[in-house]
């Protein structure tokens, strides 16, 4: 029996679809997003000041002995300044033979402390999460996260309300045409639970570095390929690579005229991991949104 959640009034699926459609058909000019096609790893690319990016990230998986699920994270990202980007995530999931749930929200900020490009560029990431235990987006893996957590029934996990603070140190380099990024994650459940740790590593490169000069869709420079690896590192009482999950995921990004499409298949590297996690993302950018509204809304 499919049960609706207490959050069904919000109807995340419809809201996300509406955002997605808005990005596709809006009369506002849209751009393809310039960021890397990673799903978990962050590079030091920030949103351009004044631009608003709408991105959806879908994760599909099946824990051993359980049913398929699909999780959707809808991300609204705004470039506040050249060195500060702010984001809101709305998360939800649907599990086969169970229910569809809104699983919470995340508010994050990324800051670049150094105003120049260096070999390694640090970014400080600060996030507050207000999610339930039913969240299956796997936007990071920390502590002893494993596929067992994803197999628990929604009716149980939705009762667990987690208020968490997450800090990331993002180190990222653009070397030649490659981007290489390393993220170190520390997450604290504010309900007196220990700090948990995780990591994410990514490398990606456009398939062609020279611009062709033609407005094309299938040119090689429109594709970026790479891989990311992410997993948990235990918690303060047991820092470990074991008893947690790890994934290796090839990623492909395709820049289209109105957005960027991304694909990834994550392969679980140990028994605590899902065998596969499939991810699809769509990102579209509304350039200089404030200026556009001022000019078209007559509030100049």
């Amino acid at each position: 029996m499919v049960r609706s959640s207490c959050y069904s009034g919000l109807n995340l699926g419809r809201f996300s679809s509406a955002l997605f459609l808005f990005a596709l058909i809006t009369p506002l000019p849209t751009l393809h997003s310039q960021e890397k096609p990673y799903f978990v790893t962050y590079s030091h690319d920030l949103e351009e000041p004044g631009n608003l990016e709408i991105e959806t990230k879908t994760a599909l998986g099946r824990p051993a002995g359980s049913t398929h699920y699909g999780a959707l994270a809808t991300e609204i990202e705004y470039g506040v300044t050249g060195w500060w980007t702010s984001e809101l995530y709305l998360d939800g999931q649907a599990t086969g033979q169970e229910s569809t749930l809104f699983t919470g929200s995340r508010f994050e900020n990324r800051f670049r402390p150094l105003m120049r490009e260096h070999w390694i560029n640090p970014v400080i990431y600060v996030e507050f999460e207000n999610i339930t235990g039913a969240d299956k987006n796997m936007l990071e893996v920390v502590g002893h996260d494993g596929q067992g957590d994803l197999a628990e029934p929604n009716d149980d996990t939705r009762q667990e309300h987690e208020h968490e603070a997450e800090l990331k140190l993002i180190l990222s380099s653009n070397l030649k045409a490659w981007n290489i990024s390393e993220n170190f994650i520390a997450e604290k459940n504010l309900g007196h639970e220990p700090w948990e740790f995780g990591y994410a590593l990514g490398a990606a490169r456009p398939l062609r570095t020279l611009g062709s000069g033609k407005p094309c869709i299938f040119c090689l420079e429109k594709f970026t390929a790479g891989a990311e690896m992410y997993g948990g590192l235990g918690d303060v009482s047991s820092l470990t690579l074991g008893d947690t999950s790890h994934y290796l995921a090839p990623v492909v990004g395709w820049q289209l005229p109105r957005g960027r499409l991304s694909f990834s298949t994550g392969f679980g590297l140990n028994s605590a991991s899902l065998d596969r996690v499939y991810r699809i993302g769509w990102a579209s950018e509304l350039p200089q949104i404030g200026t556009w509204f001022r000019q078209n809304g007559g509030t100049r």
């Binding site: 751009l31 960021e35 004044g50 300044t81 670049r112 490009e117 456009p206 570095t209 033609k214």
Partner: protein, 128 residues
């Protein structure tokens, strides 16, 4: 006593003004371009398709702020048809595009491959 205080205040005012002027001068990103970057020439300048490729890169990435005619918005988004750009070396322009000026709202375009930054430099040269 009053004259001495006035002189002290005057000196203090001069000192603060000089410090502010020096600070303003040194905050100009153009003043920080390393000599080896300043001396670089555009390796793609001789390719006939560099300008048209740079025009497309400009359209996709720069036009939203600097406008289609590269004249900017007259406020925070500056014109790219200025004496400063005209007199800059290819290396200066590539360095500035790569570094950006984060504190003044210009993002870093190190995310673009180096070859595309040079194509952009070729386009900027062509519109001066």
């Amino acid at each position: 006593m009053i004259a001495r205080n006035s002189r002290t205040l005057g000196l203090l005012f001069l000192f603060i003004s000089a410090a502010l002027l020096l600070g303003a001068a040194s905050s100009s990103p153009w003043a920080k371009i390393p000599a080896k970057d300043h001396a670089r020439t555009n390796p793609l300048a001789s390719r006939p398709d560099s300008t048209s490729a740079g025009a497309l890169i400009y359209k996709e990435n720069c036009e939203q702020c600097h406008k289609a005619d590269a004249m900017g918005d007259g406020h925070k988004k500056p014109s790219l048809r200025t004496e400063r750009i005209k007199s800059a070396t290819d290396g200066d322009l590539e360095w500035f595009i790569r570094q950006g000026d984060l504190s003044h709202g210009m993002p870093s375009w190190s995310r673009l491959p180096e070859a595309q930054r040079w194509q952009l430099v070729a386009y900027l040269r062509s519109i001066q």
